[in-house]
């Protein structure tokens, strides 16, 4: 009985940790996106619209 209880507690803790890590990851990703927009691109620097290996 106590084993089942501790298993449940462990599972709940693990789910909470996972959820927190997921939230942190999203926060970090969105922050990195903001930083990407802060890059100083030259006004005439071309924009790639696909993998730039070959013109199509």
């Amino acid at each position: 009985m106590s084993d089942t209880g501790s298993d449940t507690n462990a599972a709940t803790a693990s789910a909470a940790t996972h959820e927190r890590q997921q939230r942190d990851l999203i926060t970090r990703t969105l922050r990195a996106f903001d930083q990407l927009e802060q890059i100083d691109f030259g006004e005439l620097e071309p924009v790639g619209i696909s993998a730039p290996t070959e013109p199509r």
Partner: protein, 468 residues
């Protein structure tokens, strides 16, 4: 003899088949027996097509006249490659009942070359993740340690090749999904140049980043497969018209005298100590082989992973938009979270990412003025445990997805060819790998360097203890 047959490389098996030292049927049976005995533990296959494989092997054994380059070779494909009459799930519940009425271009090419299709390989759901902890078909386990992930998203392919459950496999790579499992499982994984292999009939993740390529035991095997898979396909608008090189000849040419560049930025910044030591040892080997090693600078590399995400996430969300609206509960939790987040990426961020992508391409082209290839570590850590959500890398703790894809994404963003090759073992016996990346459409050179390395090292001939 049959029990040991699957342990051979694809190149060795093709030679045995060509001189009729073994029949396609005998070889196919040997692989199917091995799958039956070992895949209960590894779970690398979603579907095994035993009956049709045996039928095809018998047919090939009866064939007279011209034989294809893979005549009688048993192979398998990631379960997002459409296969006529065979369920193609993409590792998802969304496509659990899809039975295509056509073959993907790569499946057509494998069949035309005489390969025998053993089945469809497990993968991270919809190729959107790097662990192959699949909630619908069960996790694939790393043959070197069953408590570890095989990497992903082509985790079934990496595990099946490492465990000799197929002679070679085809996977896909949007953010490292061929090279991550290759590195984690100690095999070779080639992401060719964007447009080199047709993606017709392959379930997309992100149109401008998706690549198809082989996972094999050796660089020579990768050349064998690439020679079959590469080429123009009118049905894929991104498919290249460029001439296909003779990779099987090029791969055997000496690499001596070539120059390898090691980027100063990004790739060595966050690295497990054992990976760093194995990479340093590999550089020493290259020097002994008379390759020159020089530092190069590619200043935009630190932004590449973010730029890749800013493109991949909205593209993936756009592709799966209808299913996400209609059947949100049929997605696994991690994939659903990323698909929902992808809808929130501002268009201005995606444009910044495209500009960064262009800039990175220019910087790489400048580096390739000085060097023939780049050499960098593959995974920054050996394969994490299946239960891990995060891993410690030196002083940093990274979520598993960020850690495993960190050194991969620059080559998806630029579309440059890159091959992952085993180059060591951790103290726990887990594979460690390096990557060699080349100029656009110069797969021949990177395979040649990889083959030269493998001719002087033994990492690629080691097999996992499981039933070996």
């Amino acid at each position: 003899m049959s029990d040991a047959l699957p342990l051979n490389t694809a190149t060795e098996l093709v030679a045995l088949l060509a001189r009729r030292a073994v029949s396609a049927l005998e070889l196919t049976r040997a692989f199917l027996d091995r799958i039956q005995h070992l895949d209960v533990q590894i779970n690398s296959y979603i579907t095994v097509t035993a009956e049709s494989a045996l039928r095809e092997a018998r047919r090939l054994d009866r064939t007279r006249g011209r034989r294809g380059p893979l005549h009688g070779l048993p192979v398998a494909v990631k379960d997002l490659c459409a296969t006529k009459g065979v369920r193609t799930t993409a590792g998802s519940r969304i496509l659990a009942d899809w039975i295509p009425q056509f073959d993907a271009a790569v499946v057509e090419r494998l069949r035309a070359a005489g390969a025998v299709l053993l089945g469809k390989l497990n993968m991270h759901e919809l190729a959107y993740g790097v662990t192959t902890n699949n909630p619908h078909y069960g996790p694939t386990r790393n043959p070197w340690n069953l408590e570890r992930v095989p990497g992903g998203s082509s985790g079934g392919a990496g595990a099946a090749v490492a465990a000799s459950l197929c002679a070679a496999a085809v996977g896909t790579d949007t953010g490292g999904s061929i090279r991550i499992p290759a590195a984690a499982c100690g095999v070779v994984g080639l992401k060719p140049t964007y447009g080199r292999i047709s993606r017709y009939g392959v379930v997309p993740l992100s149109w401008s980043l998706d690549h198809v390529g082989p996972l094999t035991k050796t660089a020579e095997d990768a050349a064998l497969l690439l020679a079959v898979l590469a080429g123009r396909d009118e049905r894929d608008p991104t498919s290249s018209r460029r001439r296909v090189d003779n990779y099987r000849t090029t791969v055997r040419q000496p690499a001596k005298g070539l120059t390898l560049g090691v980027p100063r930025e990004h790739f060595l910044d966050v690295l497990d100590a054992e990976v760093r030591a194995a990479f340093a040892a590999a550089l020493d080997t290259f020097k002994q082989l008379r390759l020159r090693i020089v530092p190069v600078s590619i200043p935009s590399l630190p932004h590449a992973q973010t730029a890749e995400l800013a493109i991949m996430m909205p593209e993936a969300s756009a592709y799966h938009a209808r299913a996400l609206r209609a059947r949100p509960d049929d997605f696994g939790a991690d994939v659903r979270a990323f698909l929902e987040l992808g809808r929130q990426v501002p268009a201005t961020t995606m444009v910044a990412a495209q500009r960064l992508r262009a800039r990175l391409g220019v910087e790489c082209a400048a580096a390739f003025e000085r060097v023939d290839a780049l050499v960098v570590p593959s995974l920054v850590v050996p394969a994490p445990r299946i239960v891990d959500q995060a891993v410690a890398v030196g002083a940093e703790t990274l979520d598993v997805g960020t850690a495993l894809s960190r050194n991969m994404m620059p080559f998806n963003l630029t579309g440059l060819p890159a091959v992952a090759v085993p180059c060591g073992r951790s103290a726990e016996g887990l594979p460690i790998g390096l990557q060699i990346a080349g100029r656009p459409f110069d797969e021949g050179t990177i395979l040649r360097i990889a083959h030269g390395y493998q001719a002087h090292t033994h990492w690629h001939v080691q097999r996992p203890p499981l039933g070996a």
